[in-house]
Symmetry: C2
């Protein structure tokens, strides 16, 4: 881990940069707002791939989450080591080394995993038998994301039949996450996409149950759509992640009831390191400080300042005529385009409240890629 950029008690403008800052009041309101929106109608299993931080996961569980999702075994290991007792790896785990670690982890906590292949089911069973572990297994159904997962209906039933007889696996239900729907801009488009996903999940569950197999749970949903999954009645559990931070790309979505609007709570703090001409400022935060896969970072609450390009370690800010220009050495807050891969660039969060550093939280699953 690199040196922390701050110590508790510091003022915001004393933090070394670039730093990953959480505005704690907004963050806590986001946690609360989600819990109030779902009003106990489904289980909340927050996605930890967004924050990669067991400190945040513990707060989510304290606020009512049953546990967390992870995408990687190594992430799940960090969460279990951080005291989270129920982790769903909402992804396929392939390869002997990874499967052995997953089975080992299933001896220490309640662990789930997704499958979309029969041979993979056999390998999971063999590893859990060897480890003396029991693993929850969800059949992943492709409900529109065109990524992993079997087709809804018969293929999902066929795979469930592979899981059911295994002594060390427990068929836990369906994973039905529609990732691509999260960033459809209009509410209408998102509602429609989730409607189709829910119909596919419902029909698949009915088919499995008609075959005499209990299908305990349908899990899925993300920050951009979770109320539609709840409305559909087809889901028992939701997996939102980005709601804790709210990034610039999510902010470009249309937000209206029944979805609550979350607040920007995650920022990259940057220093103006060059003021070469009146219309340009250069900050010390570029590609290695803020992932730009979903667009450039936004300058926060500084009218007329726009980040127009980034290179590895520089962000170029254009200053509109008449805008209040930042001075050399001044610090600016940036809202990252995409929170998840931005978080993965840092070793710790700097939690700020009322303009002062309150806490440093290690991003203990940072770099846990495997």
């Amino acid at each position: 881990m690199t040196r922390a950029p701050a110590t508790p008690g510091m003022r915001l403008d004393e933090i070394d940069t670039p730093a990953l800052v959480i505005e704690l009041d907004a963050f806590e309101r986001n946690l609360q707002r989600l819990v109030e929106a779902i009003a106990g109608r489904v289980r909340l299993r927050a996605h930890a791939k967004t924050h990669k931080c067991s400190e945040i996961a513990r707060r989510q569980v304290a606020a009512g989450a049953v546990g967390v999702c992870c995408q990687k075994v190594s992430e799940a290991e960090a969460m279990v080591a951080g005291g989270i007792g129920d982790v769903l790896v909402s992804n396929e785990i392939v390869g002997a080394a990874k499967i052995a670690r997953l089975a080992e982890l299933a001896r220490q906590a309640q662990i789930g995993v997704c499958v979309d292949d029969a041979r993979n089911v056999s390998e999971l069973e063999a590893a859990c038998a060897k480890a003396g572990a029991r693993l929850d297994v969800y059949v992943e159904v492709d409900v529109g994301a065109r990524r992993c997962g079997v087709a809804p209906g018969e293929p999902a039933l066929a795979l469930a039949r592979e899981v059911v007889p295994r002594r060390h696996l427990r068929f836990a239900g369906l994973q039905a996450y529609h990732g691509a729907a999260q960033h459809l801009r209009s509410m209408t488009e998102r509602r429609k996409a989730i409607g189709l996903a829910a119909a596919a999940a419902r029909a698949t569950r009915a088919l499995i149950e008609a075959a005499g197999i209990a299908c305990p749970r349908v899990t899925g949903a993300g920050s951009g759509s979770f109320m539609f999954e709840i409305e559909s009645g087809a889901f028992d559990e939701i997996q939102p992640g980005s709601y804790v931070f709210m990034d610039a790309d999510y902010a470009r979505n249309e937000w209206a009831a029944p979805l609550p609007r979350f607040e920007h709570a995650l920022f990259v703090l940057a220093t103006v390191m060059s003021r070469p001409v009146p219309e340009r400022a250069v900050v010390d935060a570029g590609l290695k400080a803020s992932s730009v896969d979903s667009g450039l970072p936004l300058v926060w609450q500084r009218a007329g300042l726009e980040c127009v390009r980034v290179s590895d370690e520089h962000g170029v800010i254009e200053i509109a005529p008449g805008a209040a220009a930042p001075a050399l050495g001044e610090k600016l807050l940036l809202v990252p385009g995409h929170c998840d891969p931005t978080v993965n660039l840092y070793d710790c969060y700097v939690g700020v409240r009322g303009g002062r550093v309150e806490a440093l939280w290690p991003i203990d699953a940072r770099g846990a890629l495997y």
Copy 2:
């Protein structure tokens, strides 16, 4: 640091994924090819922002580099701690905490920094006086990158005059790096851009020298253009970084004499984690395993396989009709779109030779952002 994905002696297909792999033979040829191309005509100061690894920096110095460049003080600290005695921070360093650390580092090694602001010169002098250190200072001239740097000519002379009288600073010359020229696709465009940059640098040096100020060195150039800087005669030192690895975006450049062609030496090793339909494979390497700011990764030496989209932890590979399809669990090498921010995602390199793991090299400046 996360757990290493391999141990020496392993076969390539035993490495856990995603992993950052260096093909050592190609890497060593790249080191050698650059040294042969420049044939001692200029000093080589390799850019360590690409690799962030003191192990690699030591190899570059052993192959003839005078030292390295860094972009951040924390990177320079890692390089000095790793035994590199001469480091140019080819960037402006602003803010009291960073400047104090830079001054402290200048007590331990030969350290240089760039400036484009007179107040910053005063702050550097004050910090070096306090630390009892001496720092090389280069006036950065904007020769076309439209990022940091003063304008060529009089503004550069004015800033050199600020540096010269300082007791703890040594005016070391001009930084004249044209970053934007590196990725101009045609040789003609790049030669023209560097021709203009060289003319600006030459005129500025002449002006400074005509004012009676010695201008010891003009430094700059990158992997896409360095032979043009050498041809111009205006540069004493070059700063290529990416040549050690050669990424997919650099490969899209036209390469012809006098520039040598470098080989892809850096790969992301990924596992096929899902084969949901015949025309699609999904690998376990997405945005957190390969930066896509300069384009998606390329599948290496597998005709008919193309990475068509990525999400946080998934890469979707399209399989052309008739192509040899990869099996579930199979491992694929990907050439990252942009090497520098990709490297910054990993804690170590897995050095491979002849299909076997030879070495693990810590990326000791990974995450050194400040």
